[in-house]
Structures are given as C-alpha cells and as structure tokens.
C-alpha cells in the first residue's frame, strides 16, 4: 500500500522535476525543530572533529592548585576537582560519545539490513525461523545482559560497540524485512529477475535502495538511543574508563560533587541532553519528510 502510493506521488511529481529526495528535503526544511537539530548536530560534529586543535587545554592537563573553580574567562565552563578544564573534557567526551553512537549504529545498521533483507526476500520457513529468533531477542531484558557482558568480559570500547550494536539491530531488521516483502512482488523486481540478475544483486541494487527512506529515519533515531546507552554504562562505571572522558562519565563525576560544584553536573548534562534532543527532532522531522504515512506517533 505505502509503496504504491509513494510511486504514484513520485510519478505525479515527475513533470515538475521534483524527485522524492528533493521533495523530502523541501519538507524537512520547513520543519524548524528538525532544522535546528540538524544545525546543532553539524556544529557539534565539526567542533568535536576539530577538538585536538581548538581545545583550550589538554584533557588530562591538571592544575591541582586551582581545584574546582566556577566558570571564568580562563575556563569558560569552570574546572573539575583536579583543576582540569571542563570545556575541554566535554569536547573530548563528545568525541567518544559520538564515536560510540555512530559506530554502534553502523554495526546495527549492517546486521539489521542484511538480516531483514534476507528474511524478507527469501520468505517462507527461513523467514519464520529468523523472525522468531528476533522475537525471542526482543523479549530479553537487554540492559541486564549488557551489564552482565561488561562485567564478565571486562570494560573495553570495542566490546561496548559490538554489544550495543548487536542489540539495536532488531527493529531495523523488522523494518527492512517488511519493506523488502512489499517491494519483492512489484514489476521492477520481476523485470530485474527476467534480465537474469542474481538474487543478491536484486536485493543490493534494487530492494535496499527503495527501502532507504525508512532505513535512514530509523538510523537517525537509533543514534540517540545508543548514545544514551553508552552514557548510562559509563555512568555506572562500566563503559569508558578514566582518564578518558565521555559525557556519561562526566555526569557521574558531576553527581558526586554537585552540592559544591553544580556546574560539573549541569554542563555535561546540557551537552548530552541537547545532542539527544537534536537527534530526536531530526529523526522525527526526517520521518515526517520521507515517510509521511508512518508519522502517526
């Protein structure tokens, strides 16, 4: 249903030369919150990429005589109890948080798309078995397992990526599967088959590109939930280890000393919340723009 209407509307739009993507971009541009989110994210990403060159101090640079001072001209966001510059630590923390967000999402994306596409394209018994497996994983209390995993196998970043990525692919697999199922019976796929294209080429060249809209939307919404997970694990002391910094870790330090030095909690908290805010707004906006039918909740 959804796909046939979108083909119709793109056919209708064709004389005016407005492609689906351009159309989506026009719609997205009207959404102020989504554009704010996009702008803020670009800013954060550029700043975090450039951190080693623009950070005012080193992230391990201590000034114990200074101790924790409130925001000032020398230290815009103040310093922590070791006299480390908070702005610098937030910037470096942002690098880690974003890195975890993007890499773990990429892991989830690859697994989810491959799994969903195979289940959807092959169908039948294989599909039923594969989807039952997803149902079982869905029912597992994932947080508990991740904590268990971090405790049992130690706290390394790579494992964190894999663990988070390995649980976030479930919804992606479901979305891709249903998209592929819908697309599989359409004429252009039959045409591709009759031209002798192999199944894998059909999936990669024809089916996945046509399912790209929902994939992009869901990817944008996965990043914040992954970042949240990382922040939470670091908060518990199971994620990123000091002297490295990440937003979750900075927040957990901030909590310990918030009575005397509230800025140590407030600024890292703002950094995390605003970034999550932006990602969610952008994701919602993209969903409205790319997939108007699915925007009900």
């Amino acid at each position: 249903m959804a796909t046939s209407t979108s083909t119709e509307s793109s056919l209708l739009a064709m004389p005016k030369g407005v492609s689906l993507w351009r159309d989506a971009w026009l719609r997205l541009r009207k959404n102020k919150l989504a554009m704010f989110g996009l702008g803020f994210l670009l800013l954060v990403m550029v700043v975090c990429l450039l951190t080693p060159w623009i950070a005012p101090y080193g992230y391990e640079e201590q000034d114990l005589r200074l101790g924790a001072v409130s925001p000032s001209a020398a230290h815009w966001l103040g310093t922590d109890t070791f006299g480390r510059d908070l702005l610098t630590r937030i910037l470096y923390g942002g690098r880690v948080s974003l890195l975890v967000g993007f890499v773990a999402t990429a892991v989830a994306l690859v697994i989810g798309v491959a799994y969903g596409a195979i289940a959807g394209y092959v169908g039948g018994k294989l599909d039923a078995v594969m989807m039952r497996f997803v149902d079982i994983l869905y029912a597992l209390p994932i947080m508990i397992f991740i904590i268990l995993l971090m405790v049992v196998f130690g706290r390394n970043l790579l494992l964190l990526f894999l663990a988070i990525g390995a649980i976030e692919w479930l919804t992606m697999a479901r979305i891709v599967r249903s998209q592929v199922q819908n697309l599989r019976d359409q004429e252009f796929v039959e045409a591709a088959m009759s031209l002798g294209l192999s199944p894998s080429a059909i999936v990669v060249k024809h089916l996945i590109p046509n399912a790209l809209g929902p994939i992009i939307v869901y990817t944008t919404l996965t990043i914040p939930s992954v970042m949240l997970l990382e922040a939470f694990l670091s908060f518990l002391g199971l994620g990123i280890q000091p002297p490295e910094s990440s937003w979750g870790l900075l927040i957990s330090y901030g909590v310990e000393t918030m009575e005397e030095y509230p800025w140590l909690l407030i600024f890292p908290g703002l950094a995390l919340s605003l970034t999550l805010f932006s990602l969610n707004f952008l994701g919602d906006g993209l969903r409205d723009a790319l997939d108007p039918k699915a925007s009900r909740d």
Binding site: I144, L148, E259, P262
Partner: protein, 309 residues
Amino acid sequence: MWRFIAVRTLQAIPVILTVITVTFFLVRAAPGGPFSSEKAVSDQVKAALEEQYRLDLPAYEQYFAYMVDLFRGDFGPSFNFPSRSVNELIFQGLPITLELGLYAMLIAVLIGVVAGVCAALKPNTLQDYIPMSLSMIGICMPSFLLGPVLVLVFGIWLDWVPISGWGNSAGDKLLPSITLGAMYAAYIARLSRSGMLEVLSQDYLRTARAKGLPEYIVIIKHALRGGLLPVVAYIGPAFAGLLSGSFVVETVFQIPGLGRFYVQAAFNRDYTMILGTTVFLASLIVVFNLLSDILSAWINPRLRYQFRK
C-alpha cells in the same frame, strides 16, 4: 481468547529458557573463579566450598542441577553472603522495587494521559505545544541525569524533600518515583496524543455528538476507550522497562531494592547473585510483557485473529 492466551504463554517459555541458559554460561565463562580473590584457604575448605556451590561437577551437570533447583524455586546460596540465600536477598529487595515501579507507573500514566489528551483536544495550539515539548525533555533527559538534577534543585537548593532513602522520612519516595516515571510519562503522552487524534476524526464520534451527547461524555465514554488502546498496549512493556530501569534510580537515591542488589552483585562478581537476579528479573519482565499482550488482546479483539487460522 483462550487459544490466544495458550499460544502466547507457550511462546514465553523458550524465552525464559534462553535467558537462563545464556546467563548461566555467560557467568560460568567469566574469568577468575569466585574464590580466587579471597585469602588463601586450605584445600579442604576450598573443596568444601566448591562442593557447596557444586563447582566440582562438570558444567552441564551444574546446569541441570541448577535448572532442577530453579524449578523448585531455589536460586541457591549467595557467593558473597554465604549464610544467606539468593532467594532471601531477592525477596528483600523485590517489594521495594515493585513499590517504586508502581508509583512511577501511576505518575507516568496520570501525567502522560492527561497531557496527551489535552494536547490532542486542541492540536497545534499552545495547549498542544507545551506538554509535547515537555515530553521531549522527558525523553531526552536520561534518568541518571534527571534524578541528580531534581535532587540538586528540590533537595539541596530548595530543600523541600529528602535527597535519599526510601520510607525513612516523609516525601522521600517522591523524587525517585518522578525520576523513574518521567520518561514513560513522556512516551505515554505521545502515544495518547496520537491515539486520541486518530479516534477524534472517526465517524462514530460524529454520531455520538450528533445524537446530542455532551462533549465531555463523548470524550470520556467514546473517544478514550479507542484512543488509549496504544497506551494500554504500552503499559506492560513500560512496567518491564521500569523494573529493569529502576536500578539507575535505586543507585542514585540509594534505595535498597532489587536493582541495587543487582548492580552490587555485578560489581562484586557475586556470580550466583548475578545469575539469580538476572533470571528472576528477566522472567518477571517476560511475564509482564505476556500479561500486557493478553490485556490488549482482550480490549482489542482484532489482535486475536492472527491465532485463529
């Protein structure tokens, strides 16, 4: 309906079995024996300990023995508190966690439904924008941040409520419950808004109005029942989420609930305790999901059809 319940219950069993098996072998795969960090003990003591915890048996025999114990409702002794069983510790923490979860759920449903319905009644006005923006804050502010911020503002700066504890002084249950419930209130607000918006455009509401019913009866009697279906379907998973999310709040506010035991056990490498709490929490969560599925199938008969072939 009975068929639906039977099928869904049967489906829950492999999930719980998977949880037990995966957890069991994960914990066994952990590096370092449970007593390796302790002071040197004589071989006799070690052997006695190993026998007590059945570590002298091969892994698969341990597994089956554990399964048999579980079947009788026995989670075995705790590594760290040898005189106490995991059962005791679980049932000491459980009532507190359940109480916390219940309050949080009440707050979430109450605030969420009121905010969502208000927003849906006047879409795209301030009455819509304000609660919906607030709900976005609820979603983007994780509980480990919201909790401390609430403590800082209301506990320390304003000094209105106690900053930690559970049931020791008046009002100390308020902040933890709000912290835990906030995110779910936000989701419920969004769900009930979209659910109500969809129902409000239906013909049967026009009929209800056309036959002269006052607006509040139209809303309360006719629109709410359909519009809040997504919320009902969400309550089970939400309660499951509340239970597994409660350890953050329990850690932040120092509440001696199940979640705090779990985190402590994880840090102390109290393997039997980890195993016991994981299996227990996970089964609880699966059962709540099952109940919520049954509840939503009961309210919405269309969901039952997929099992009537």
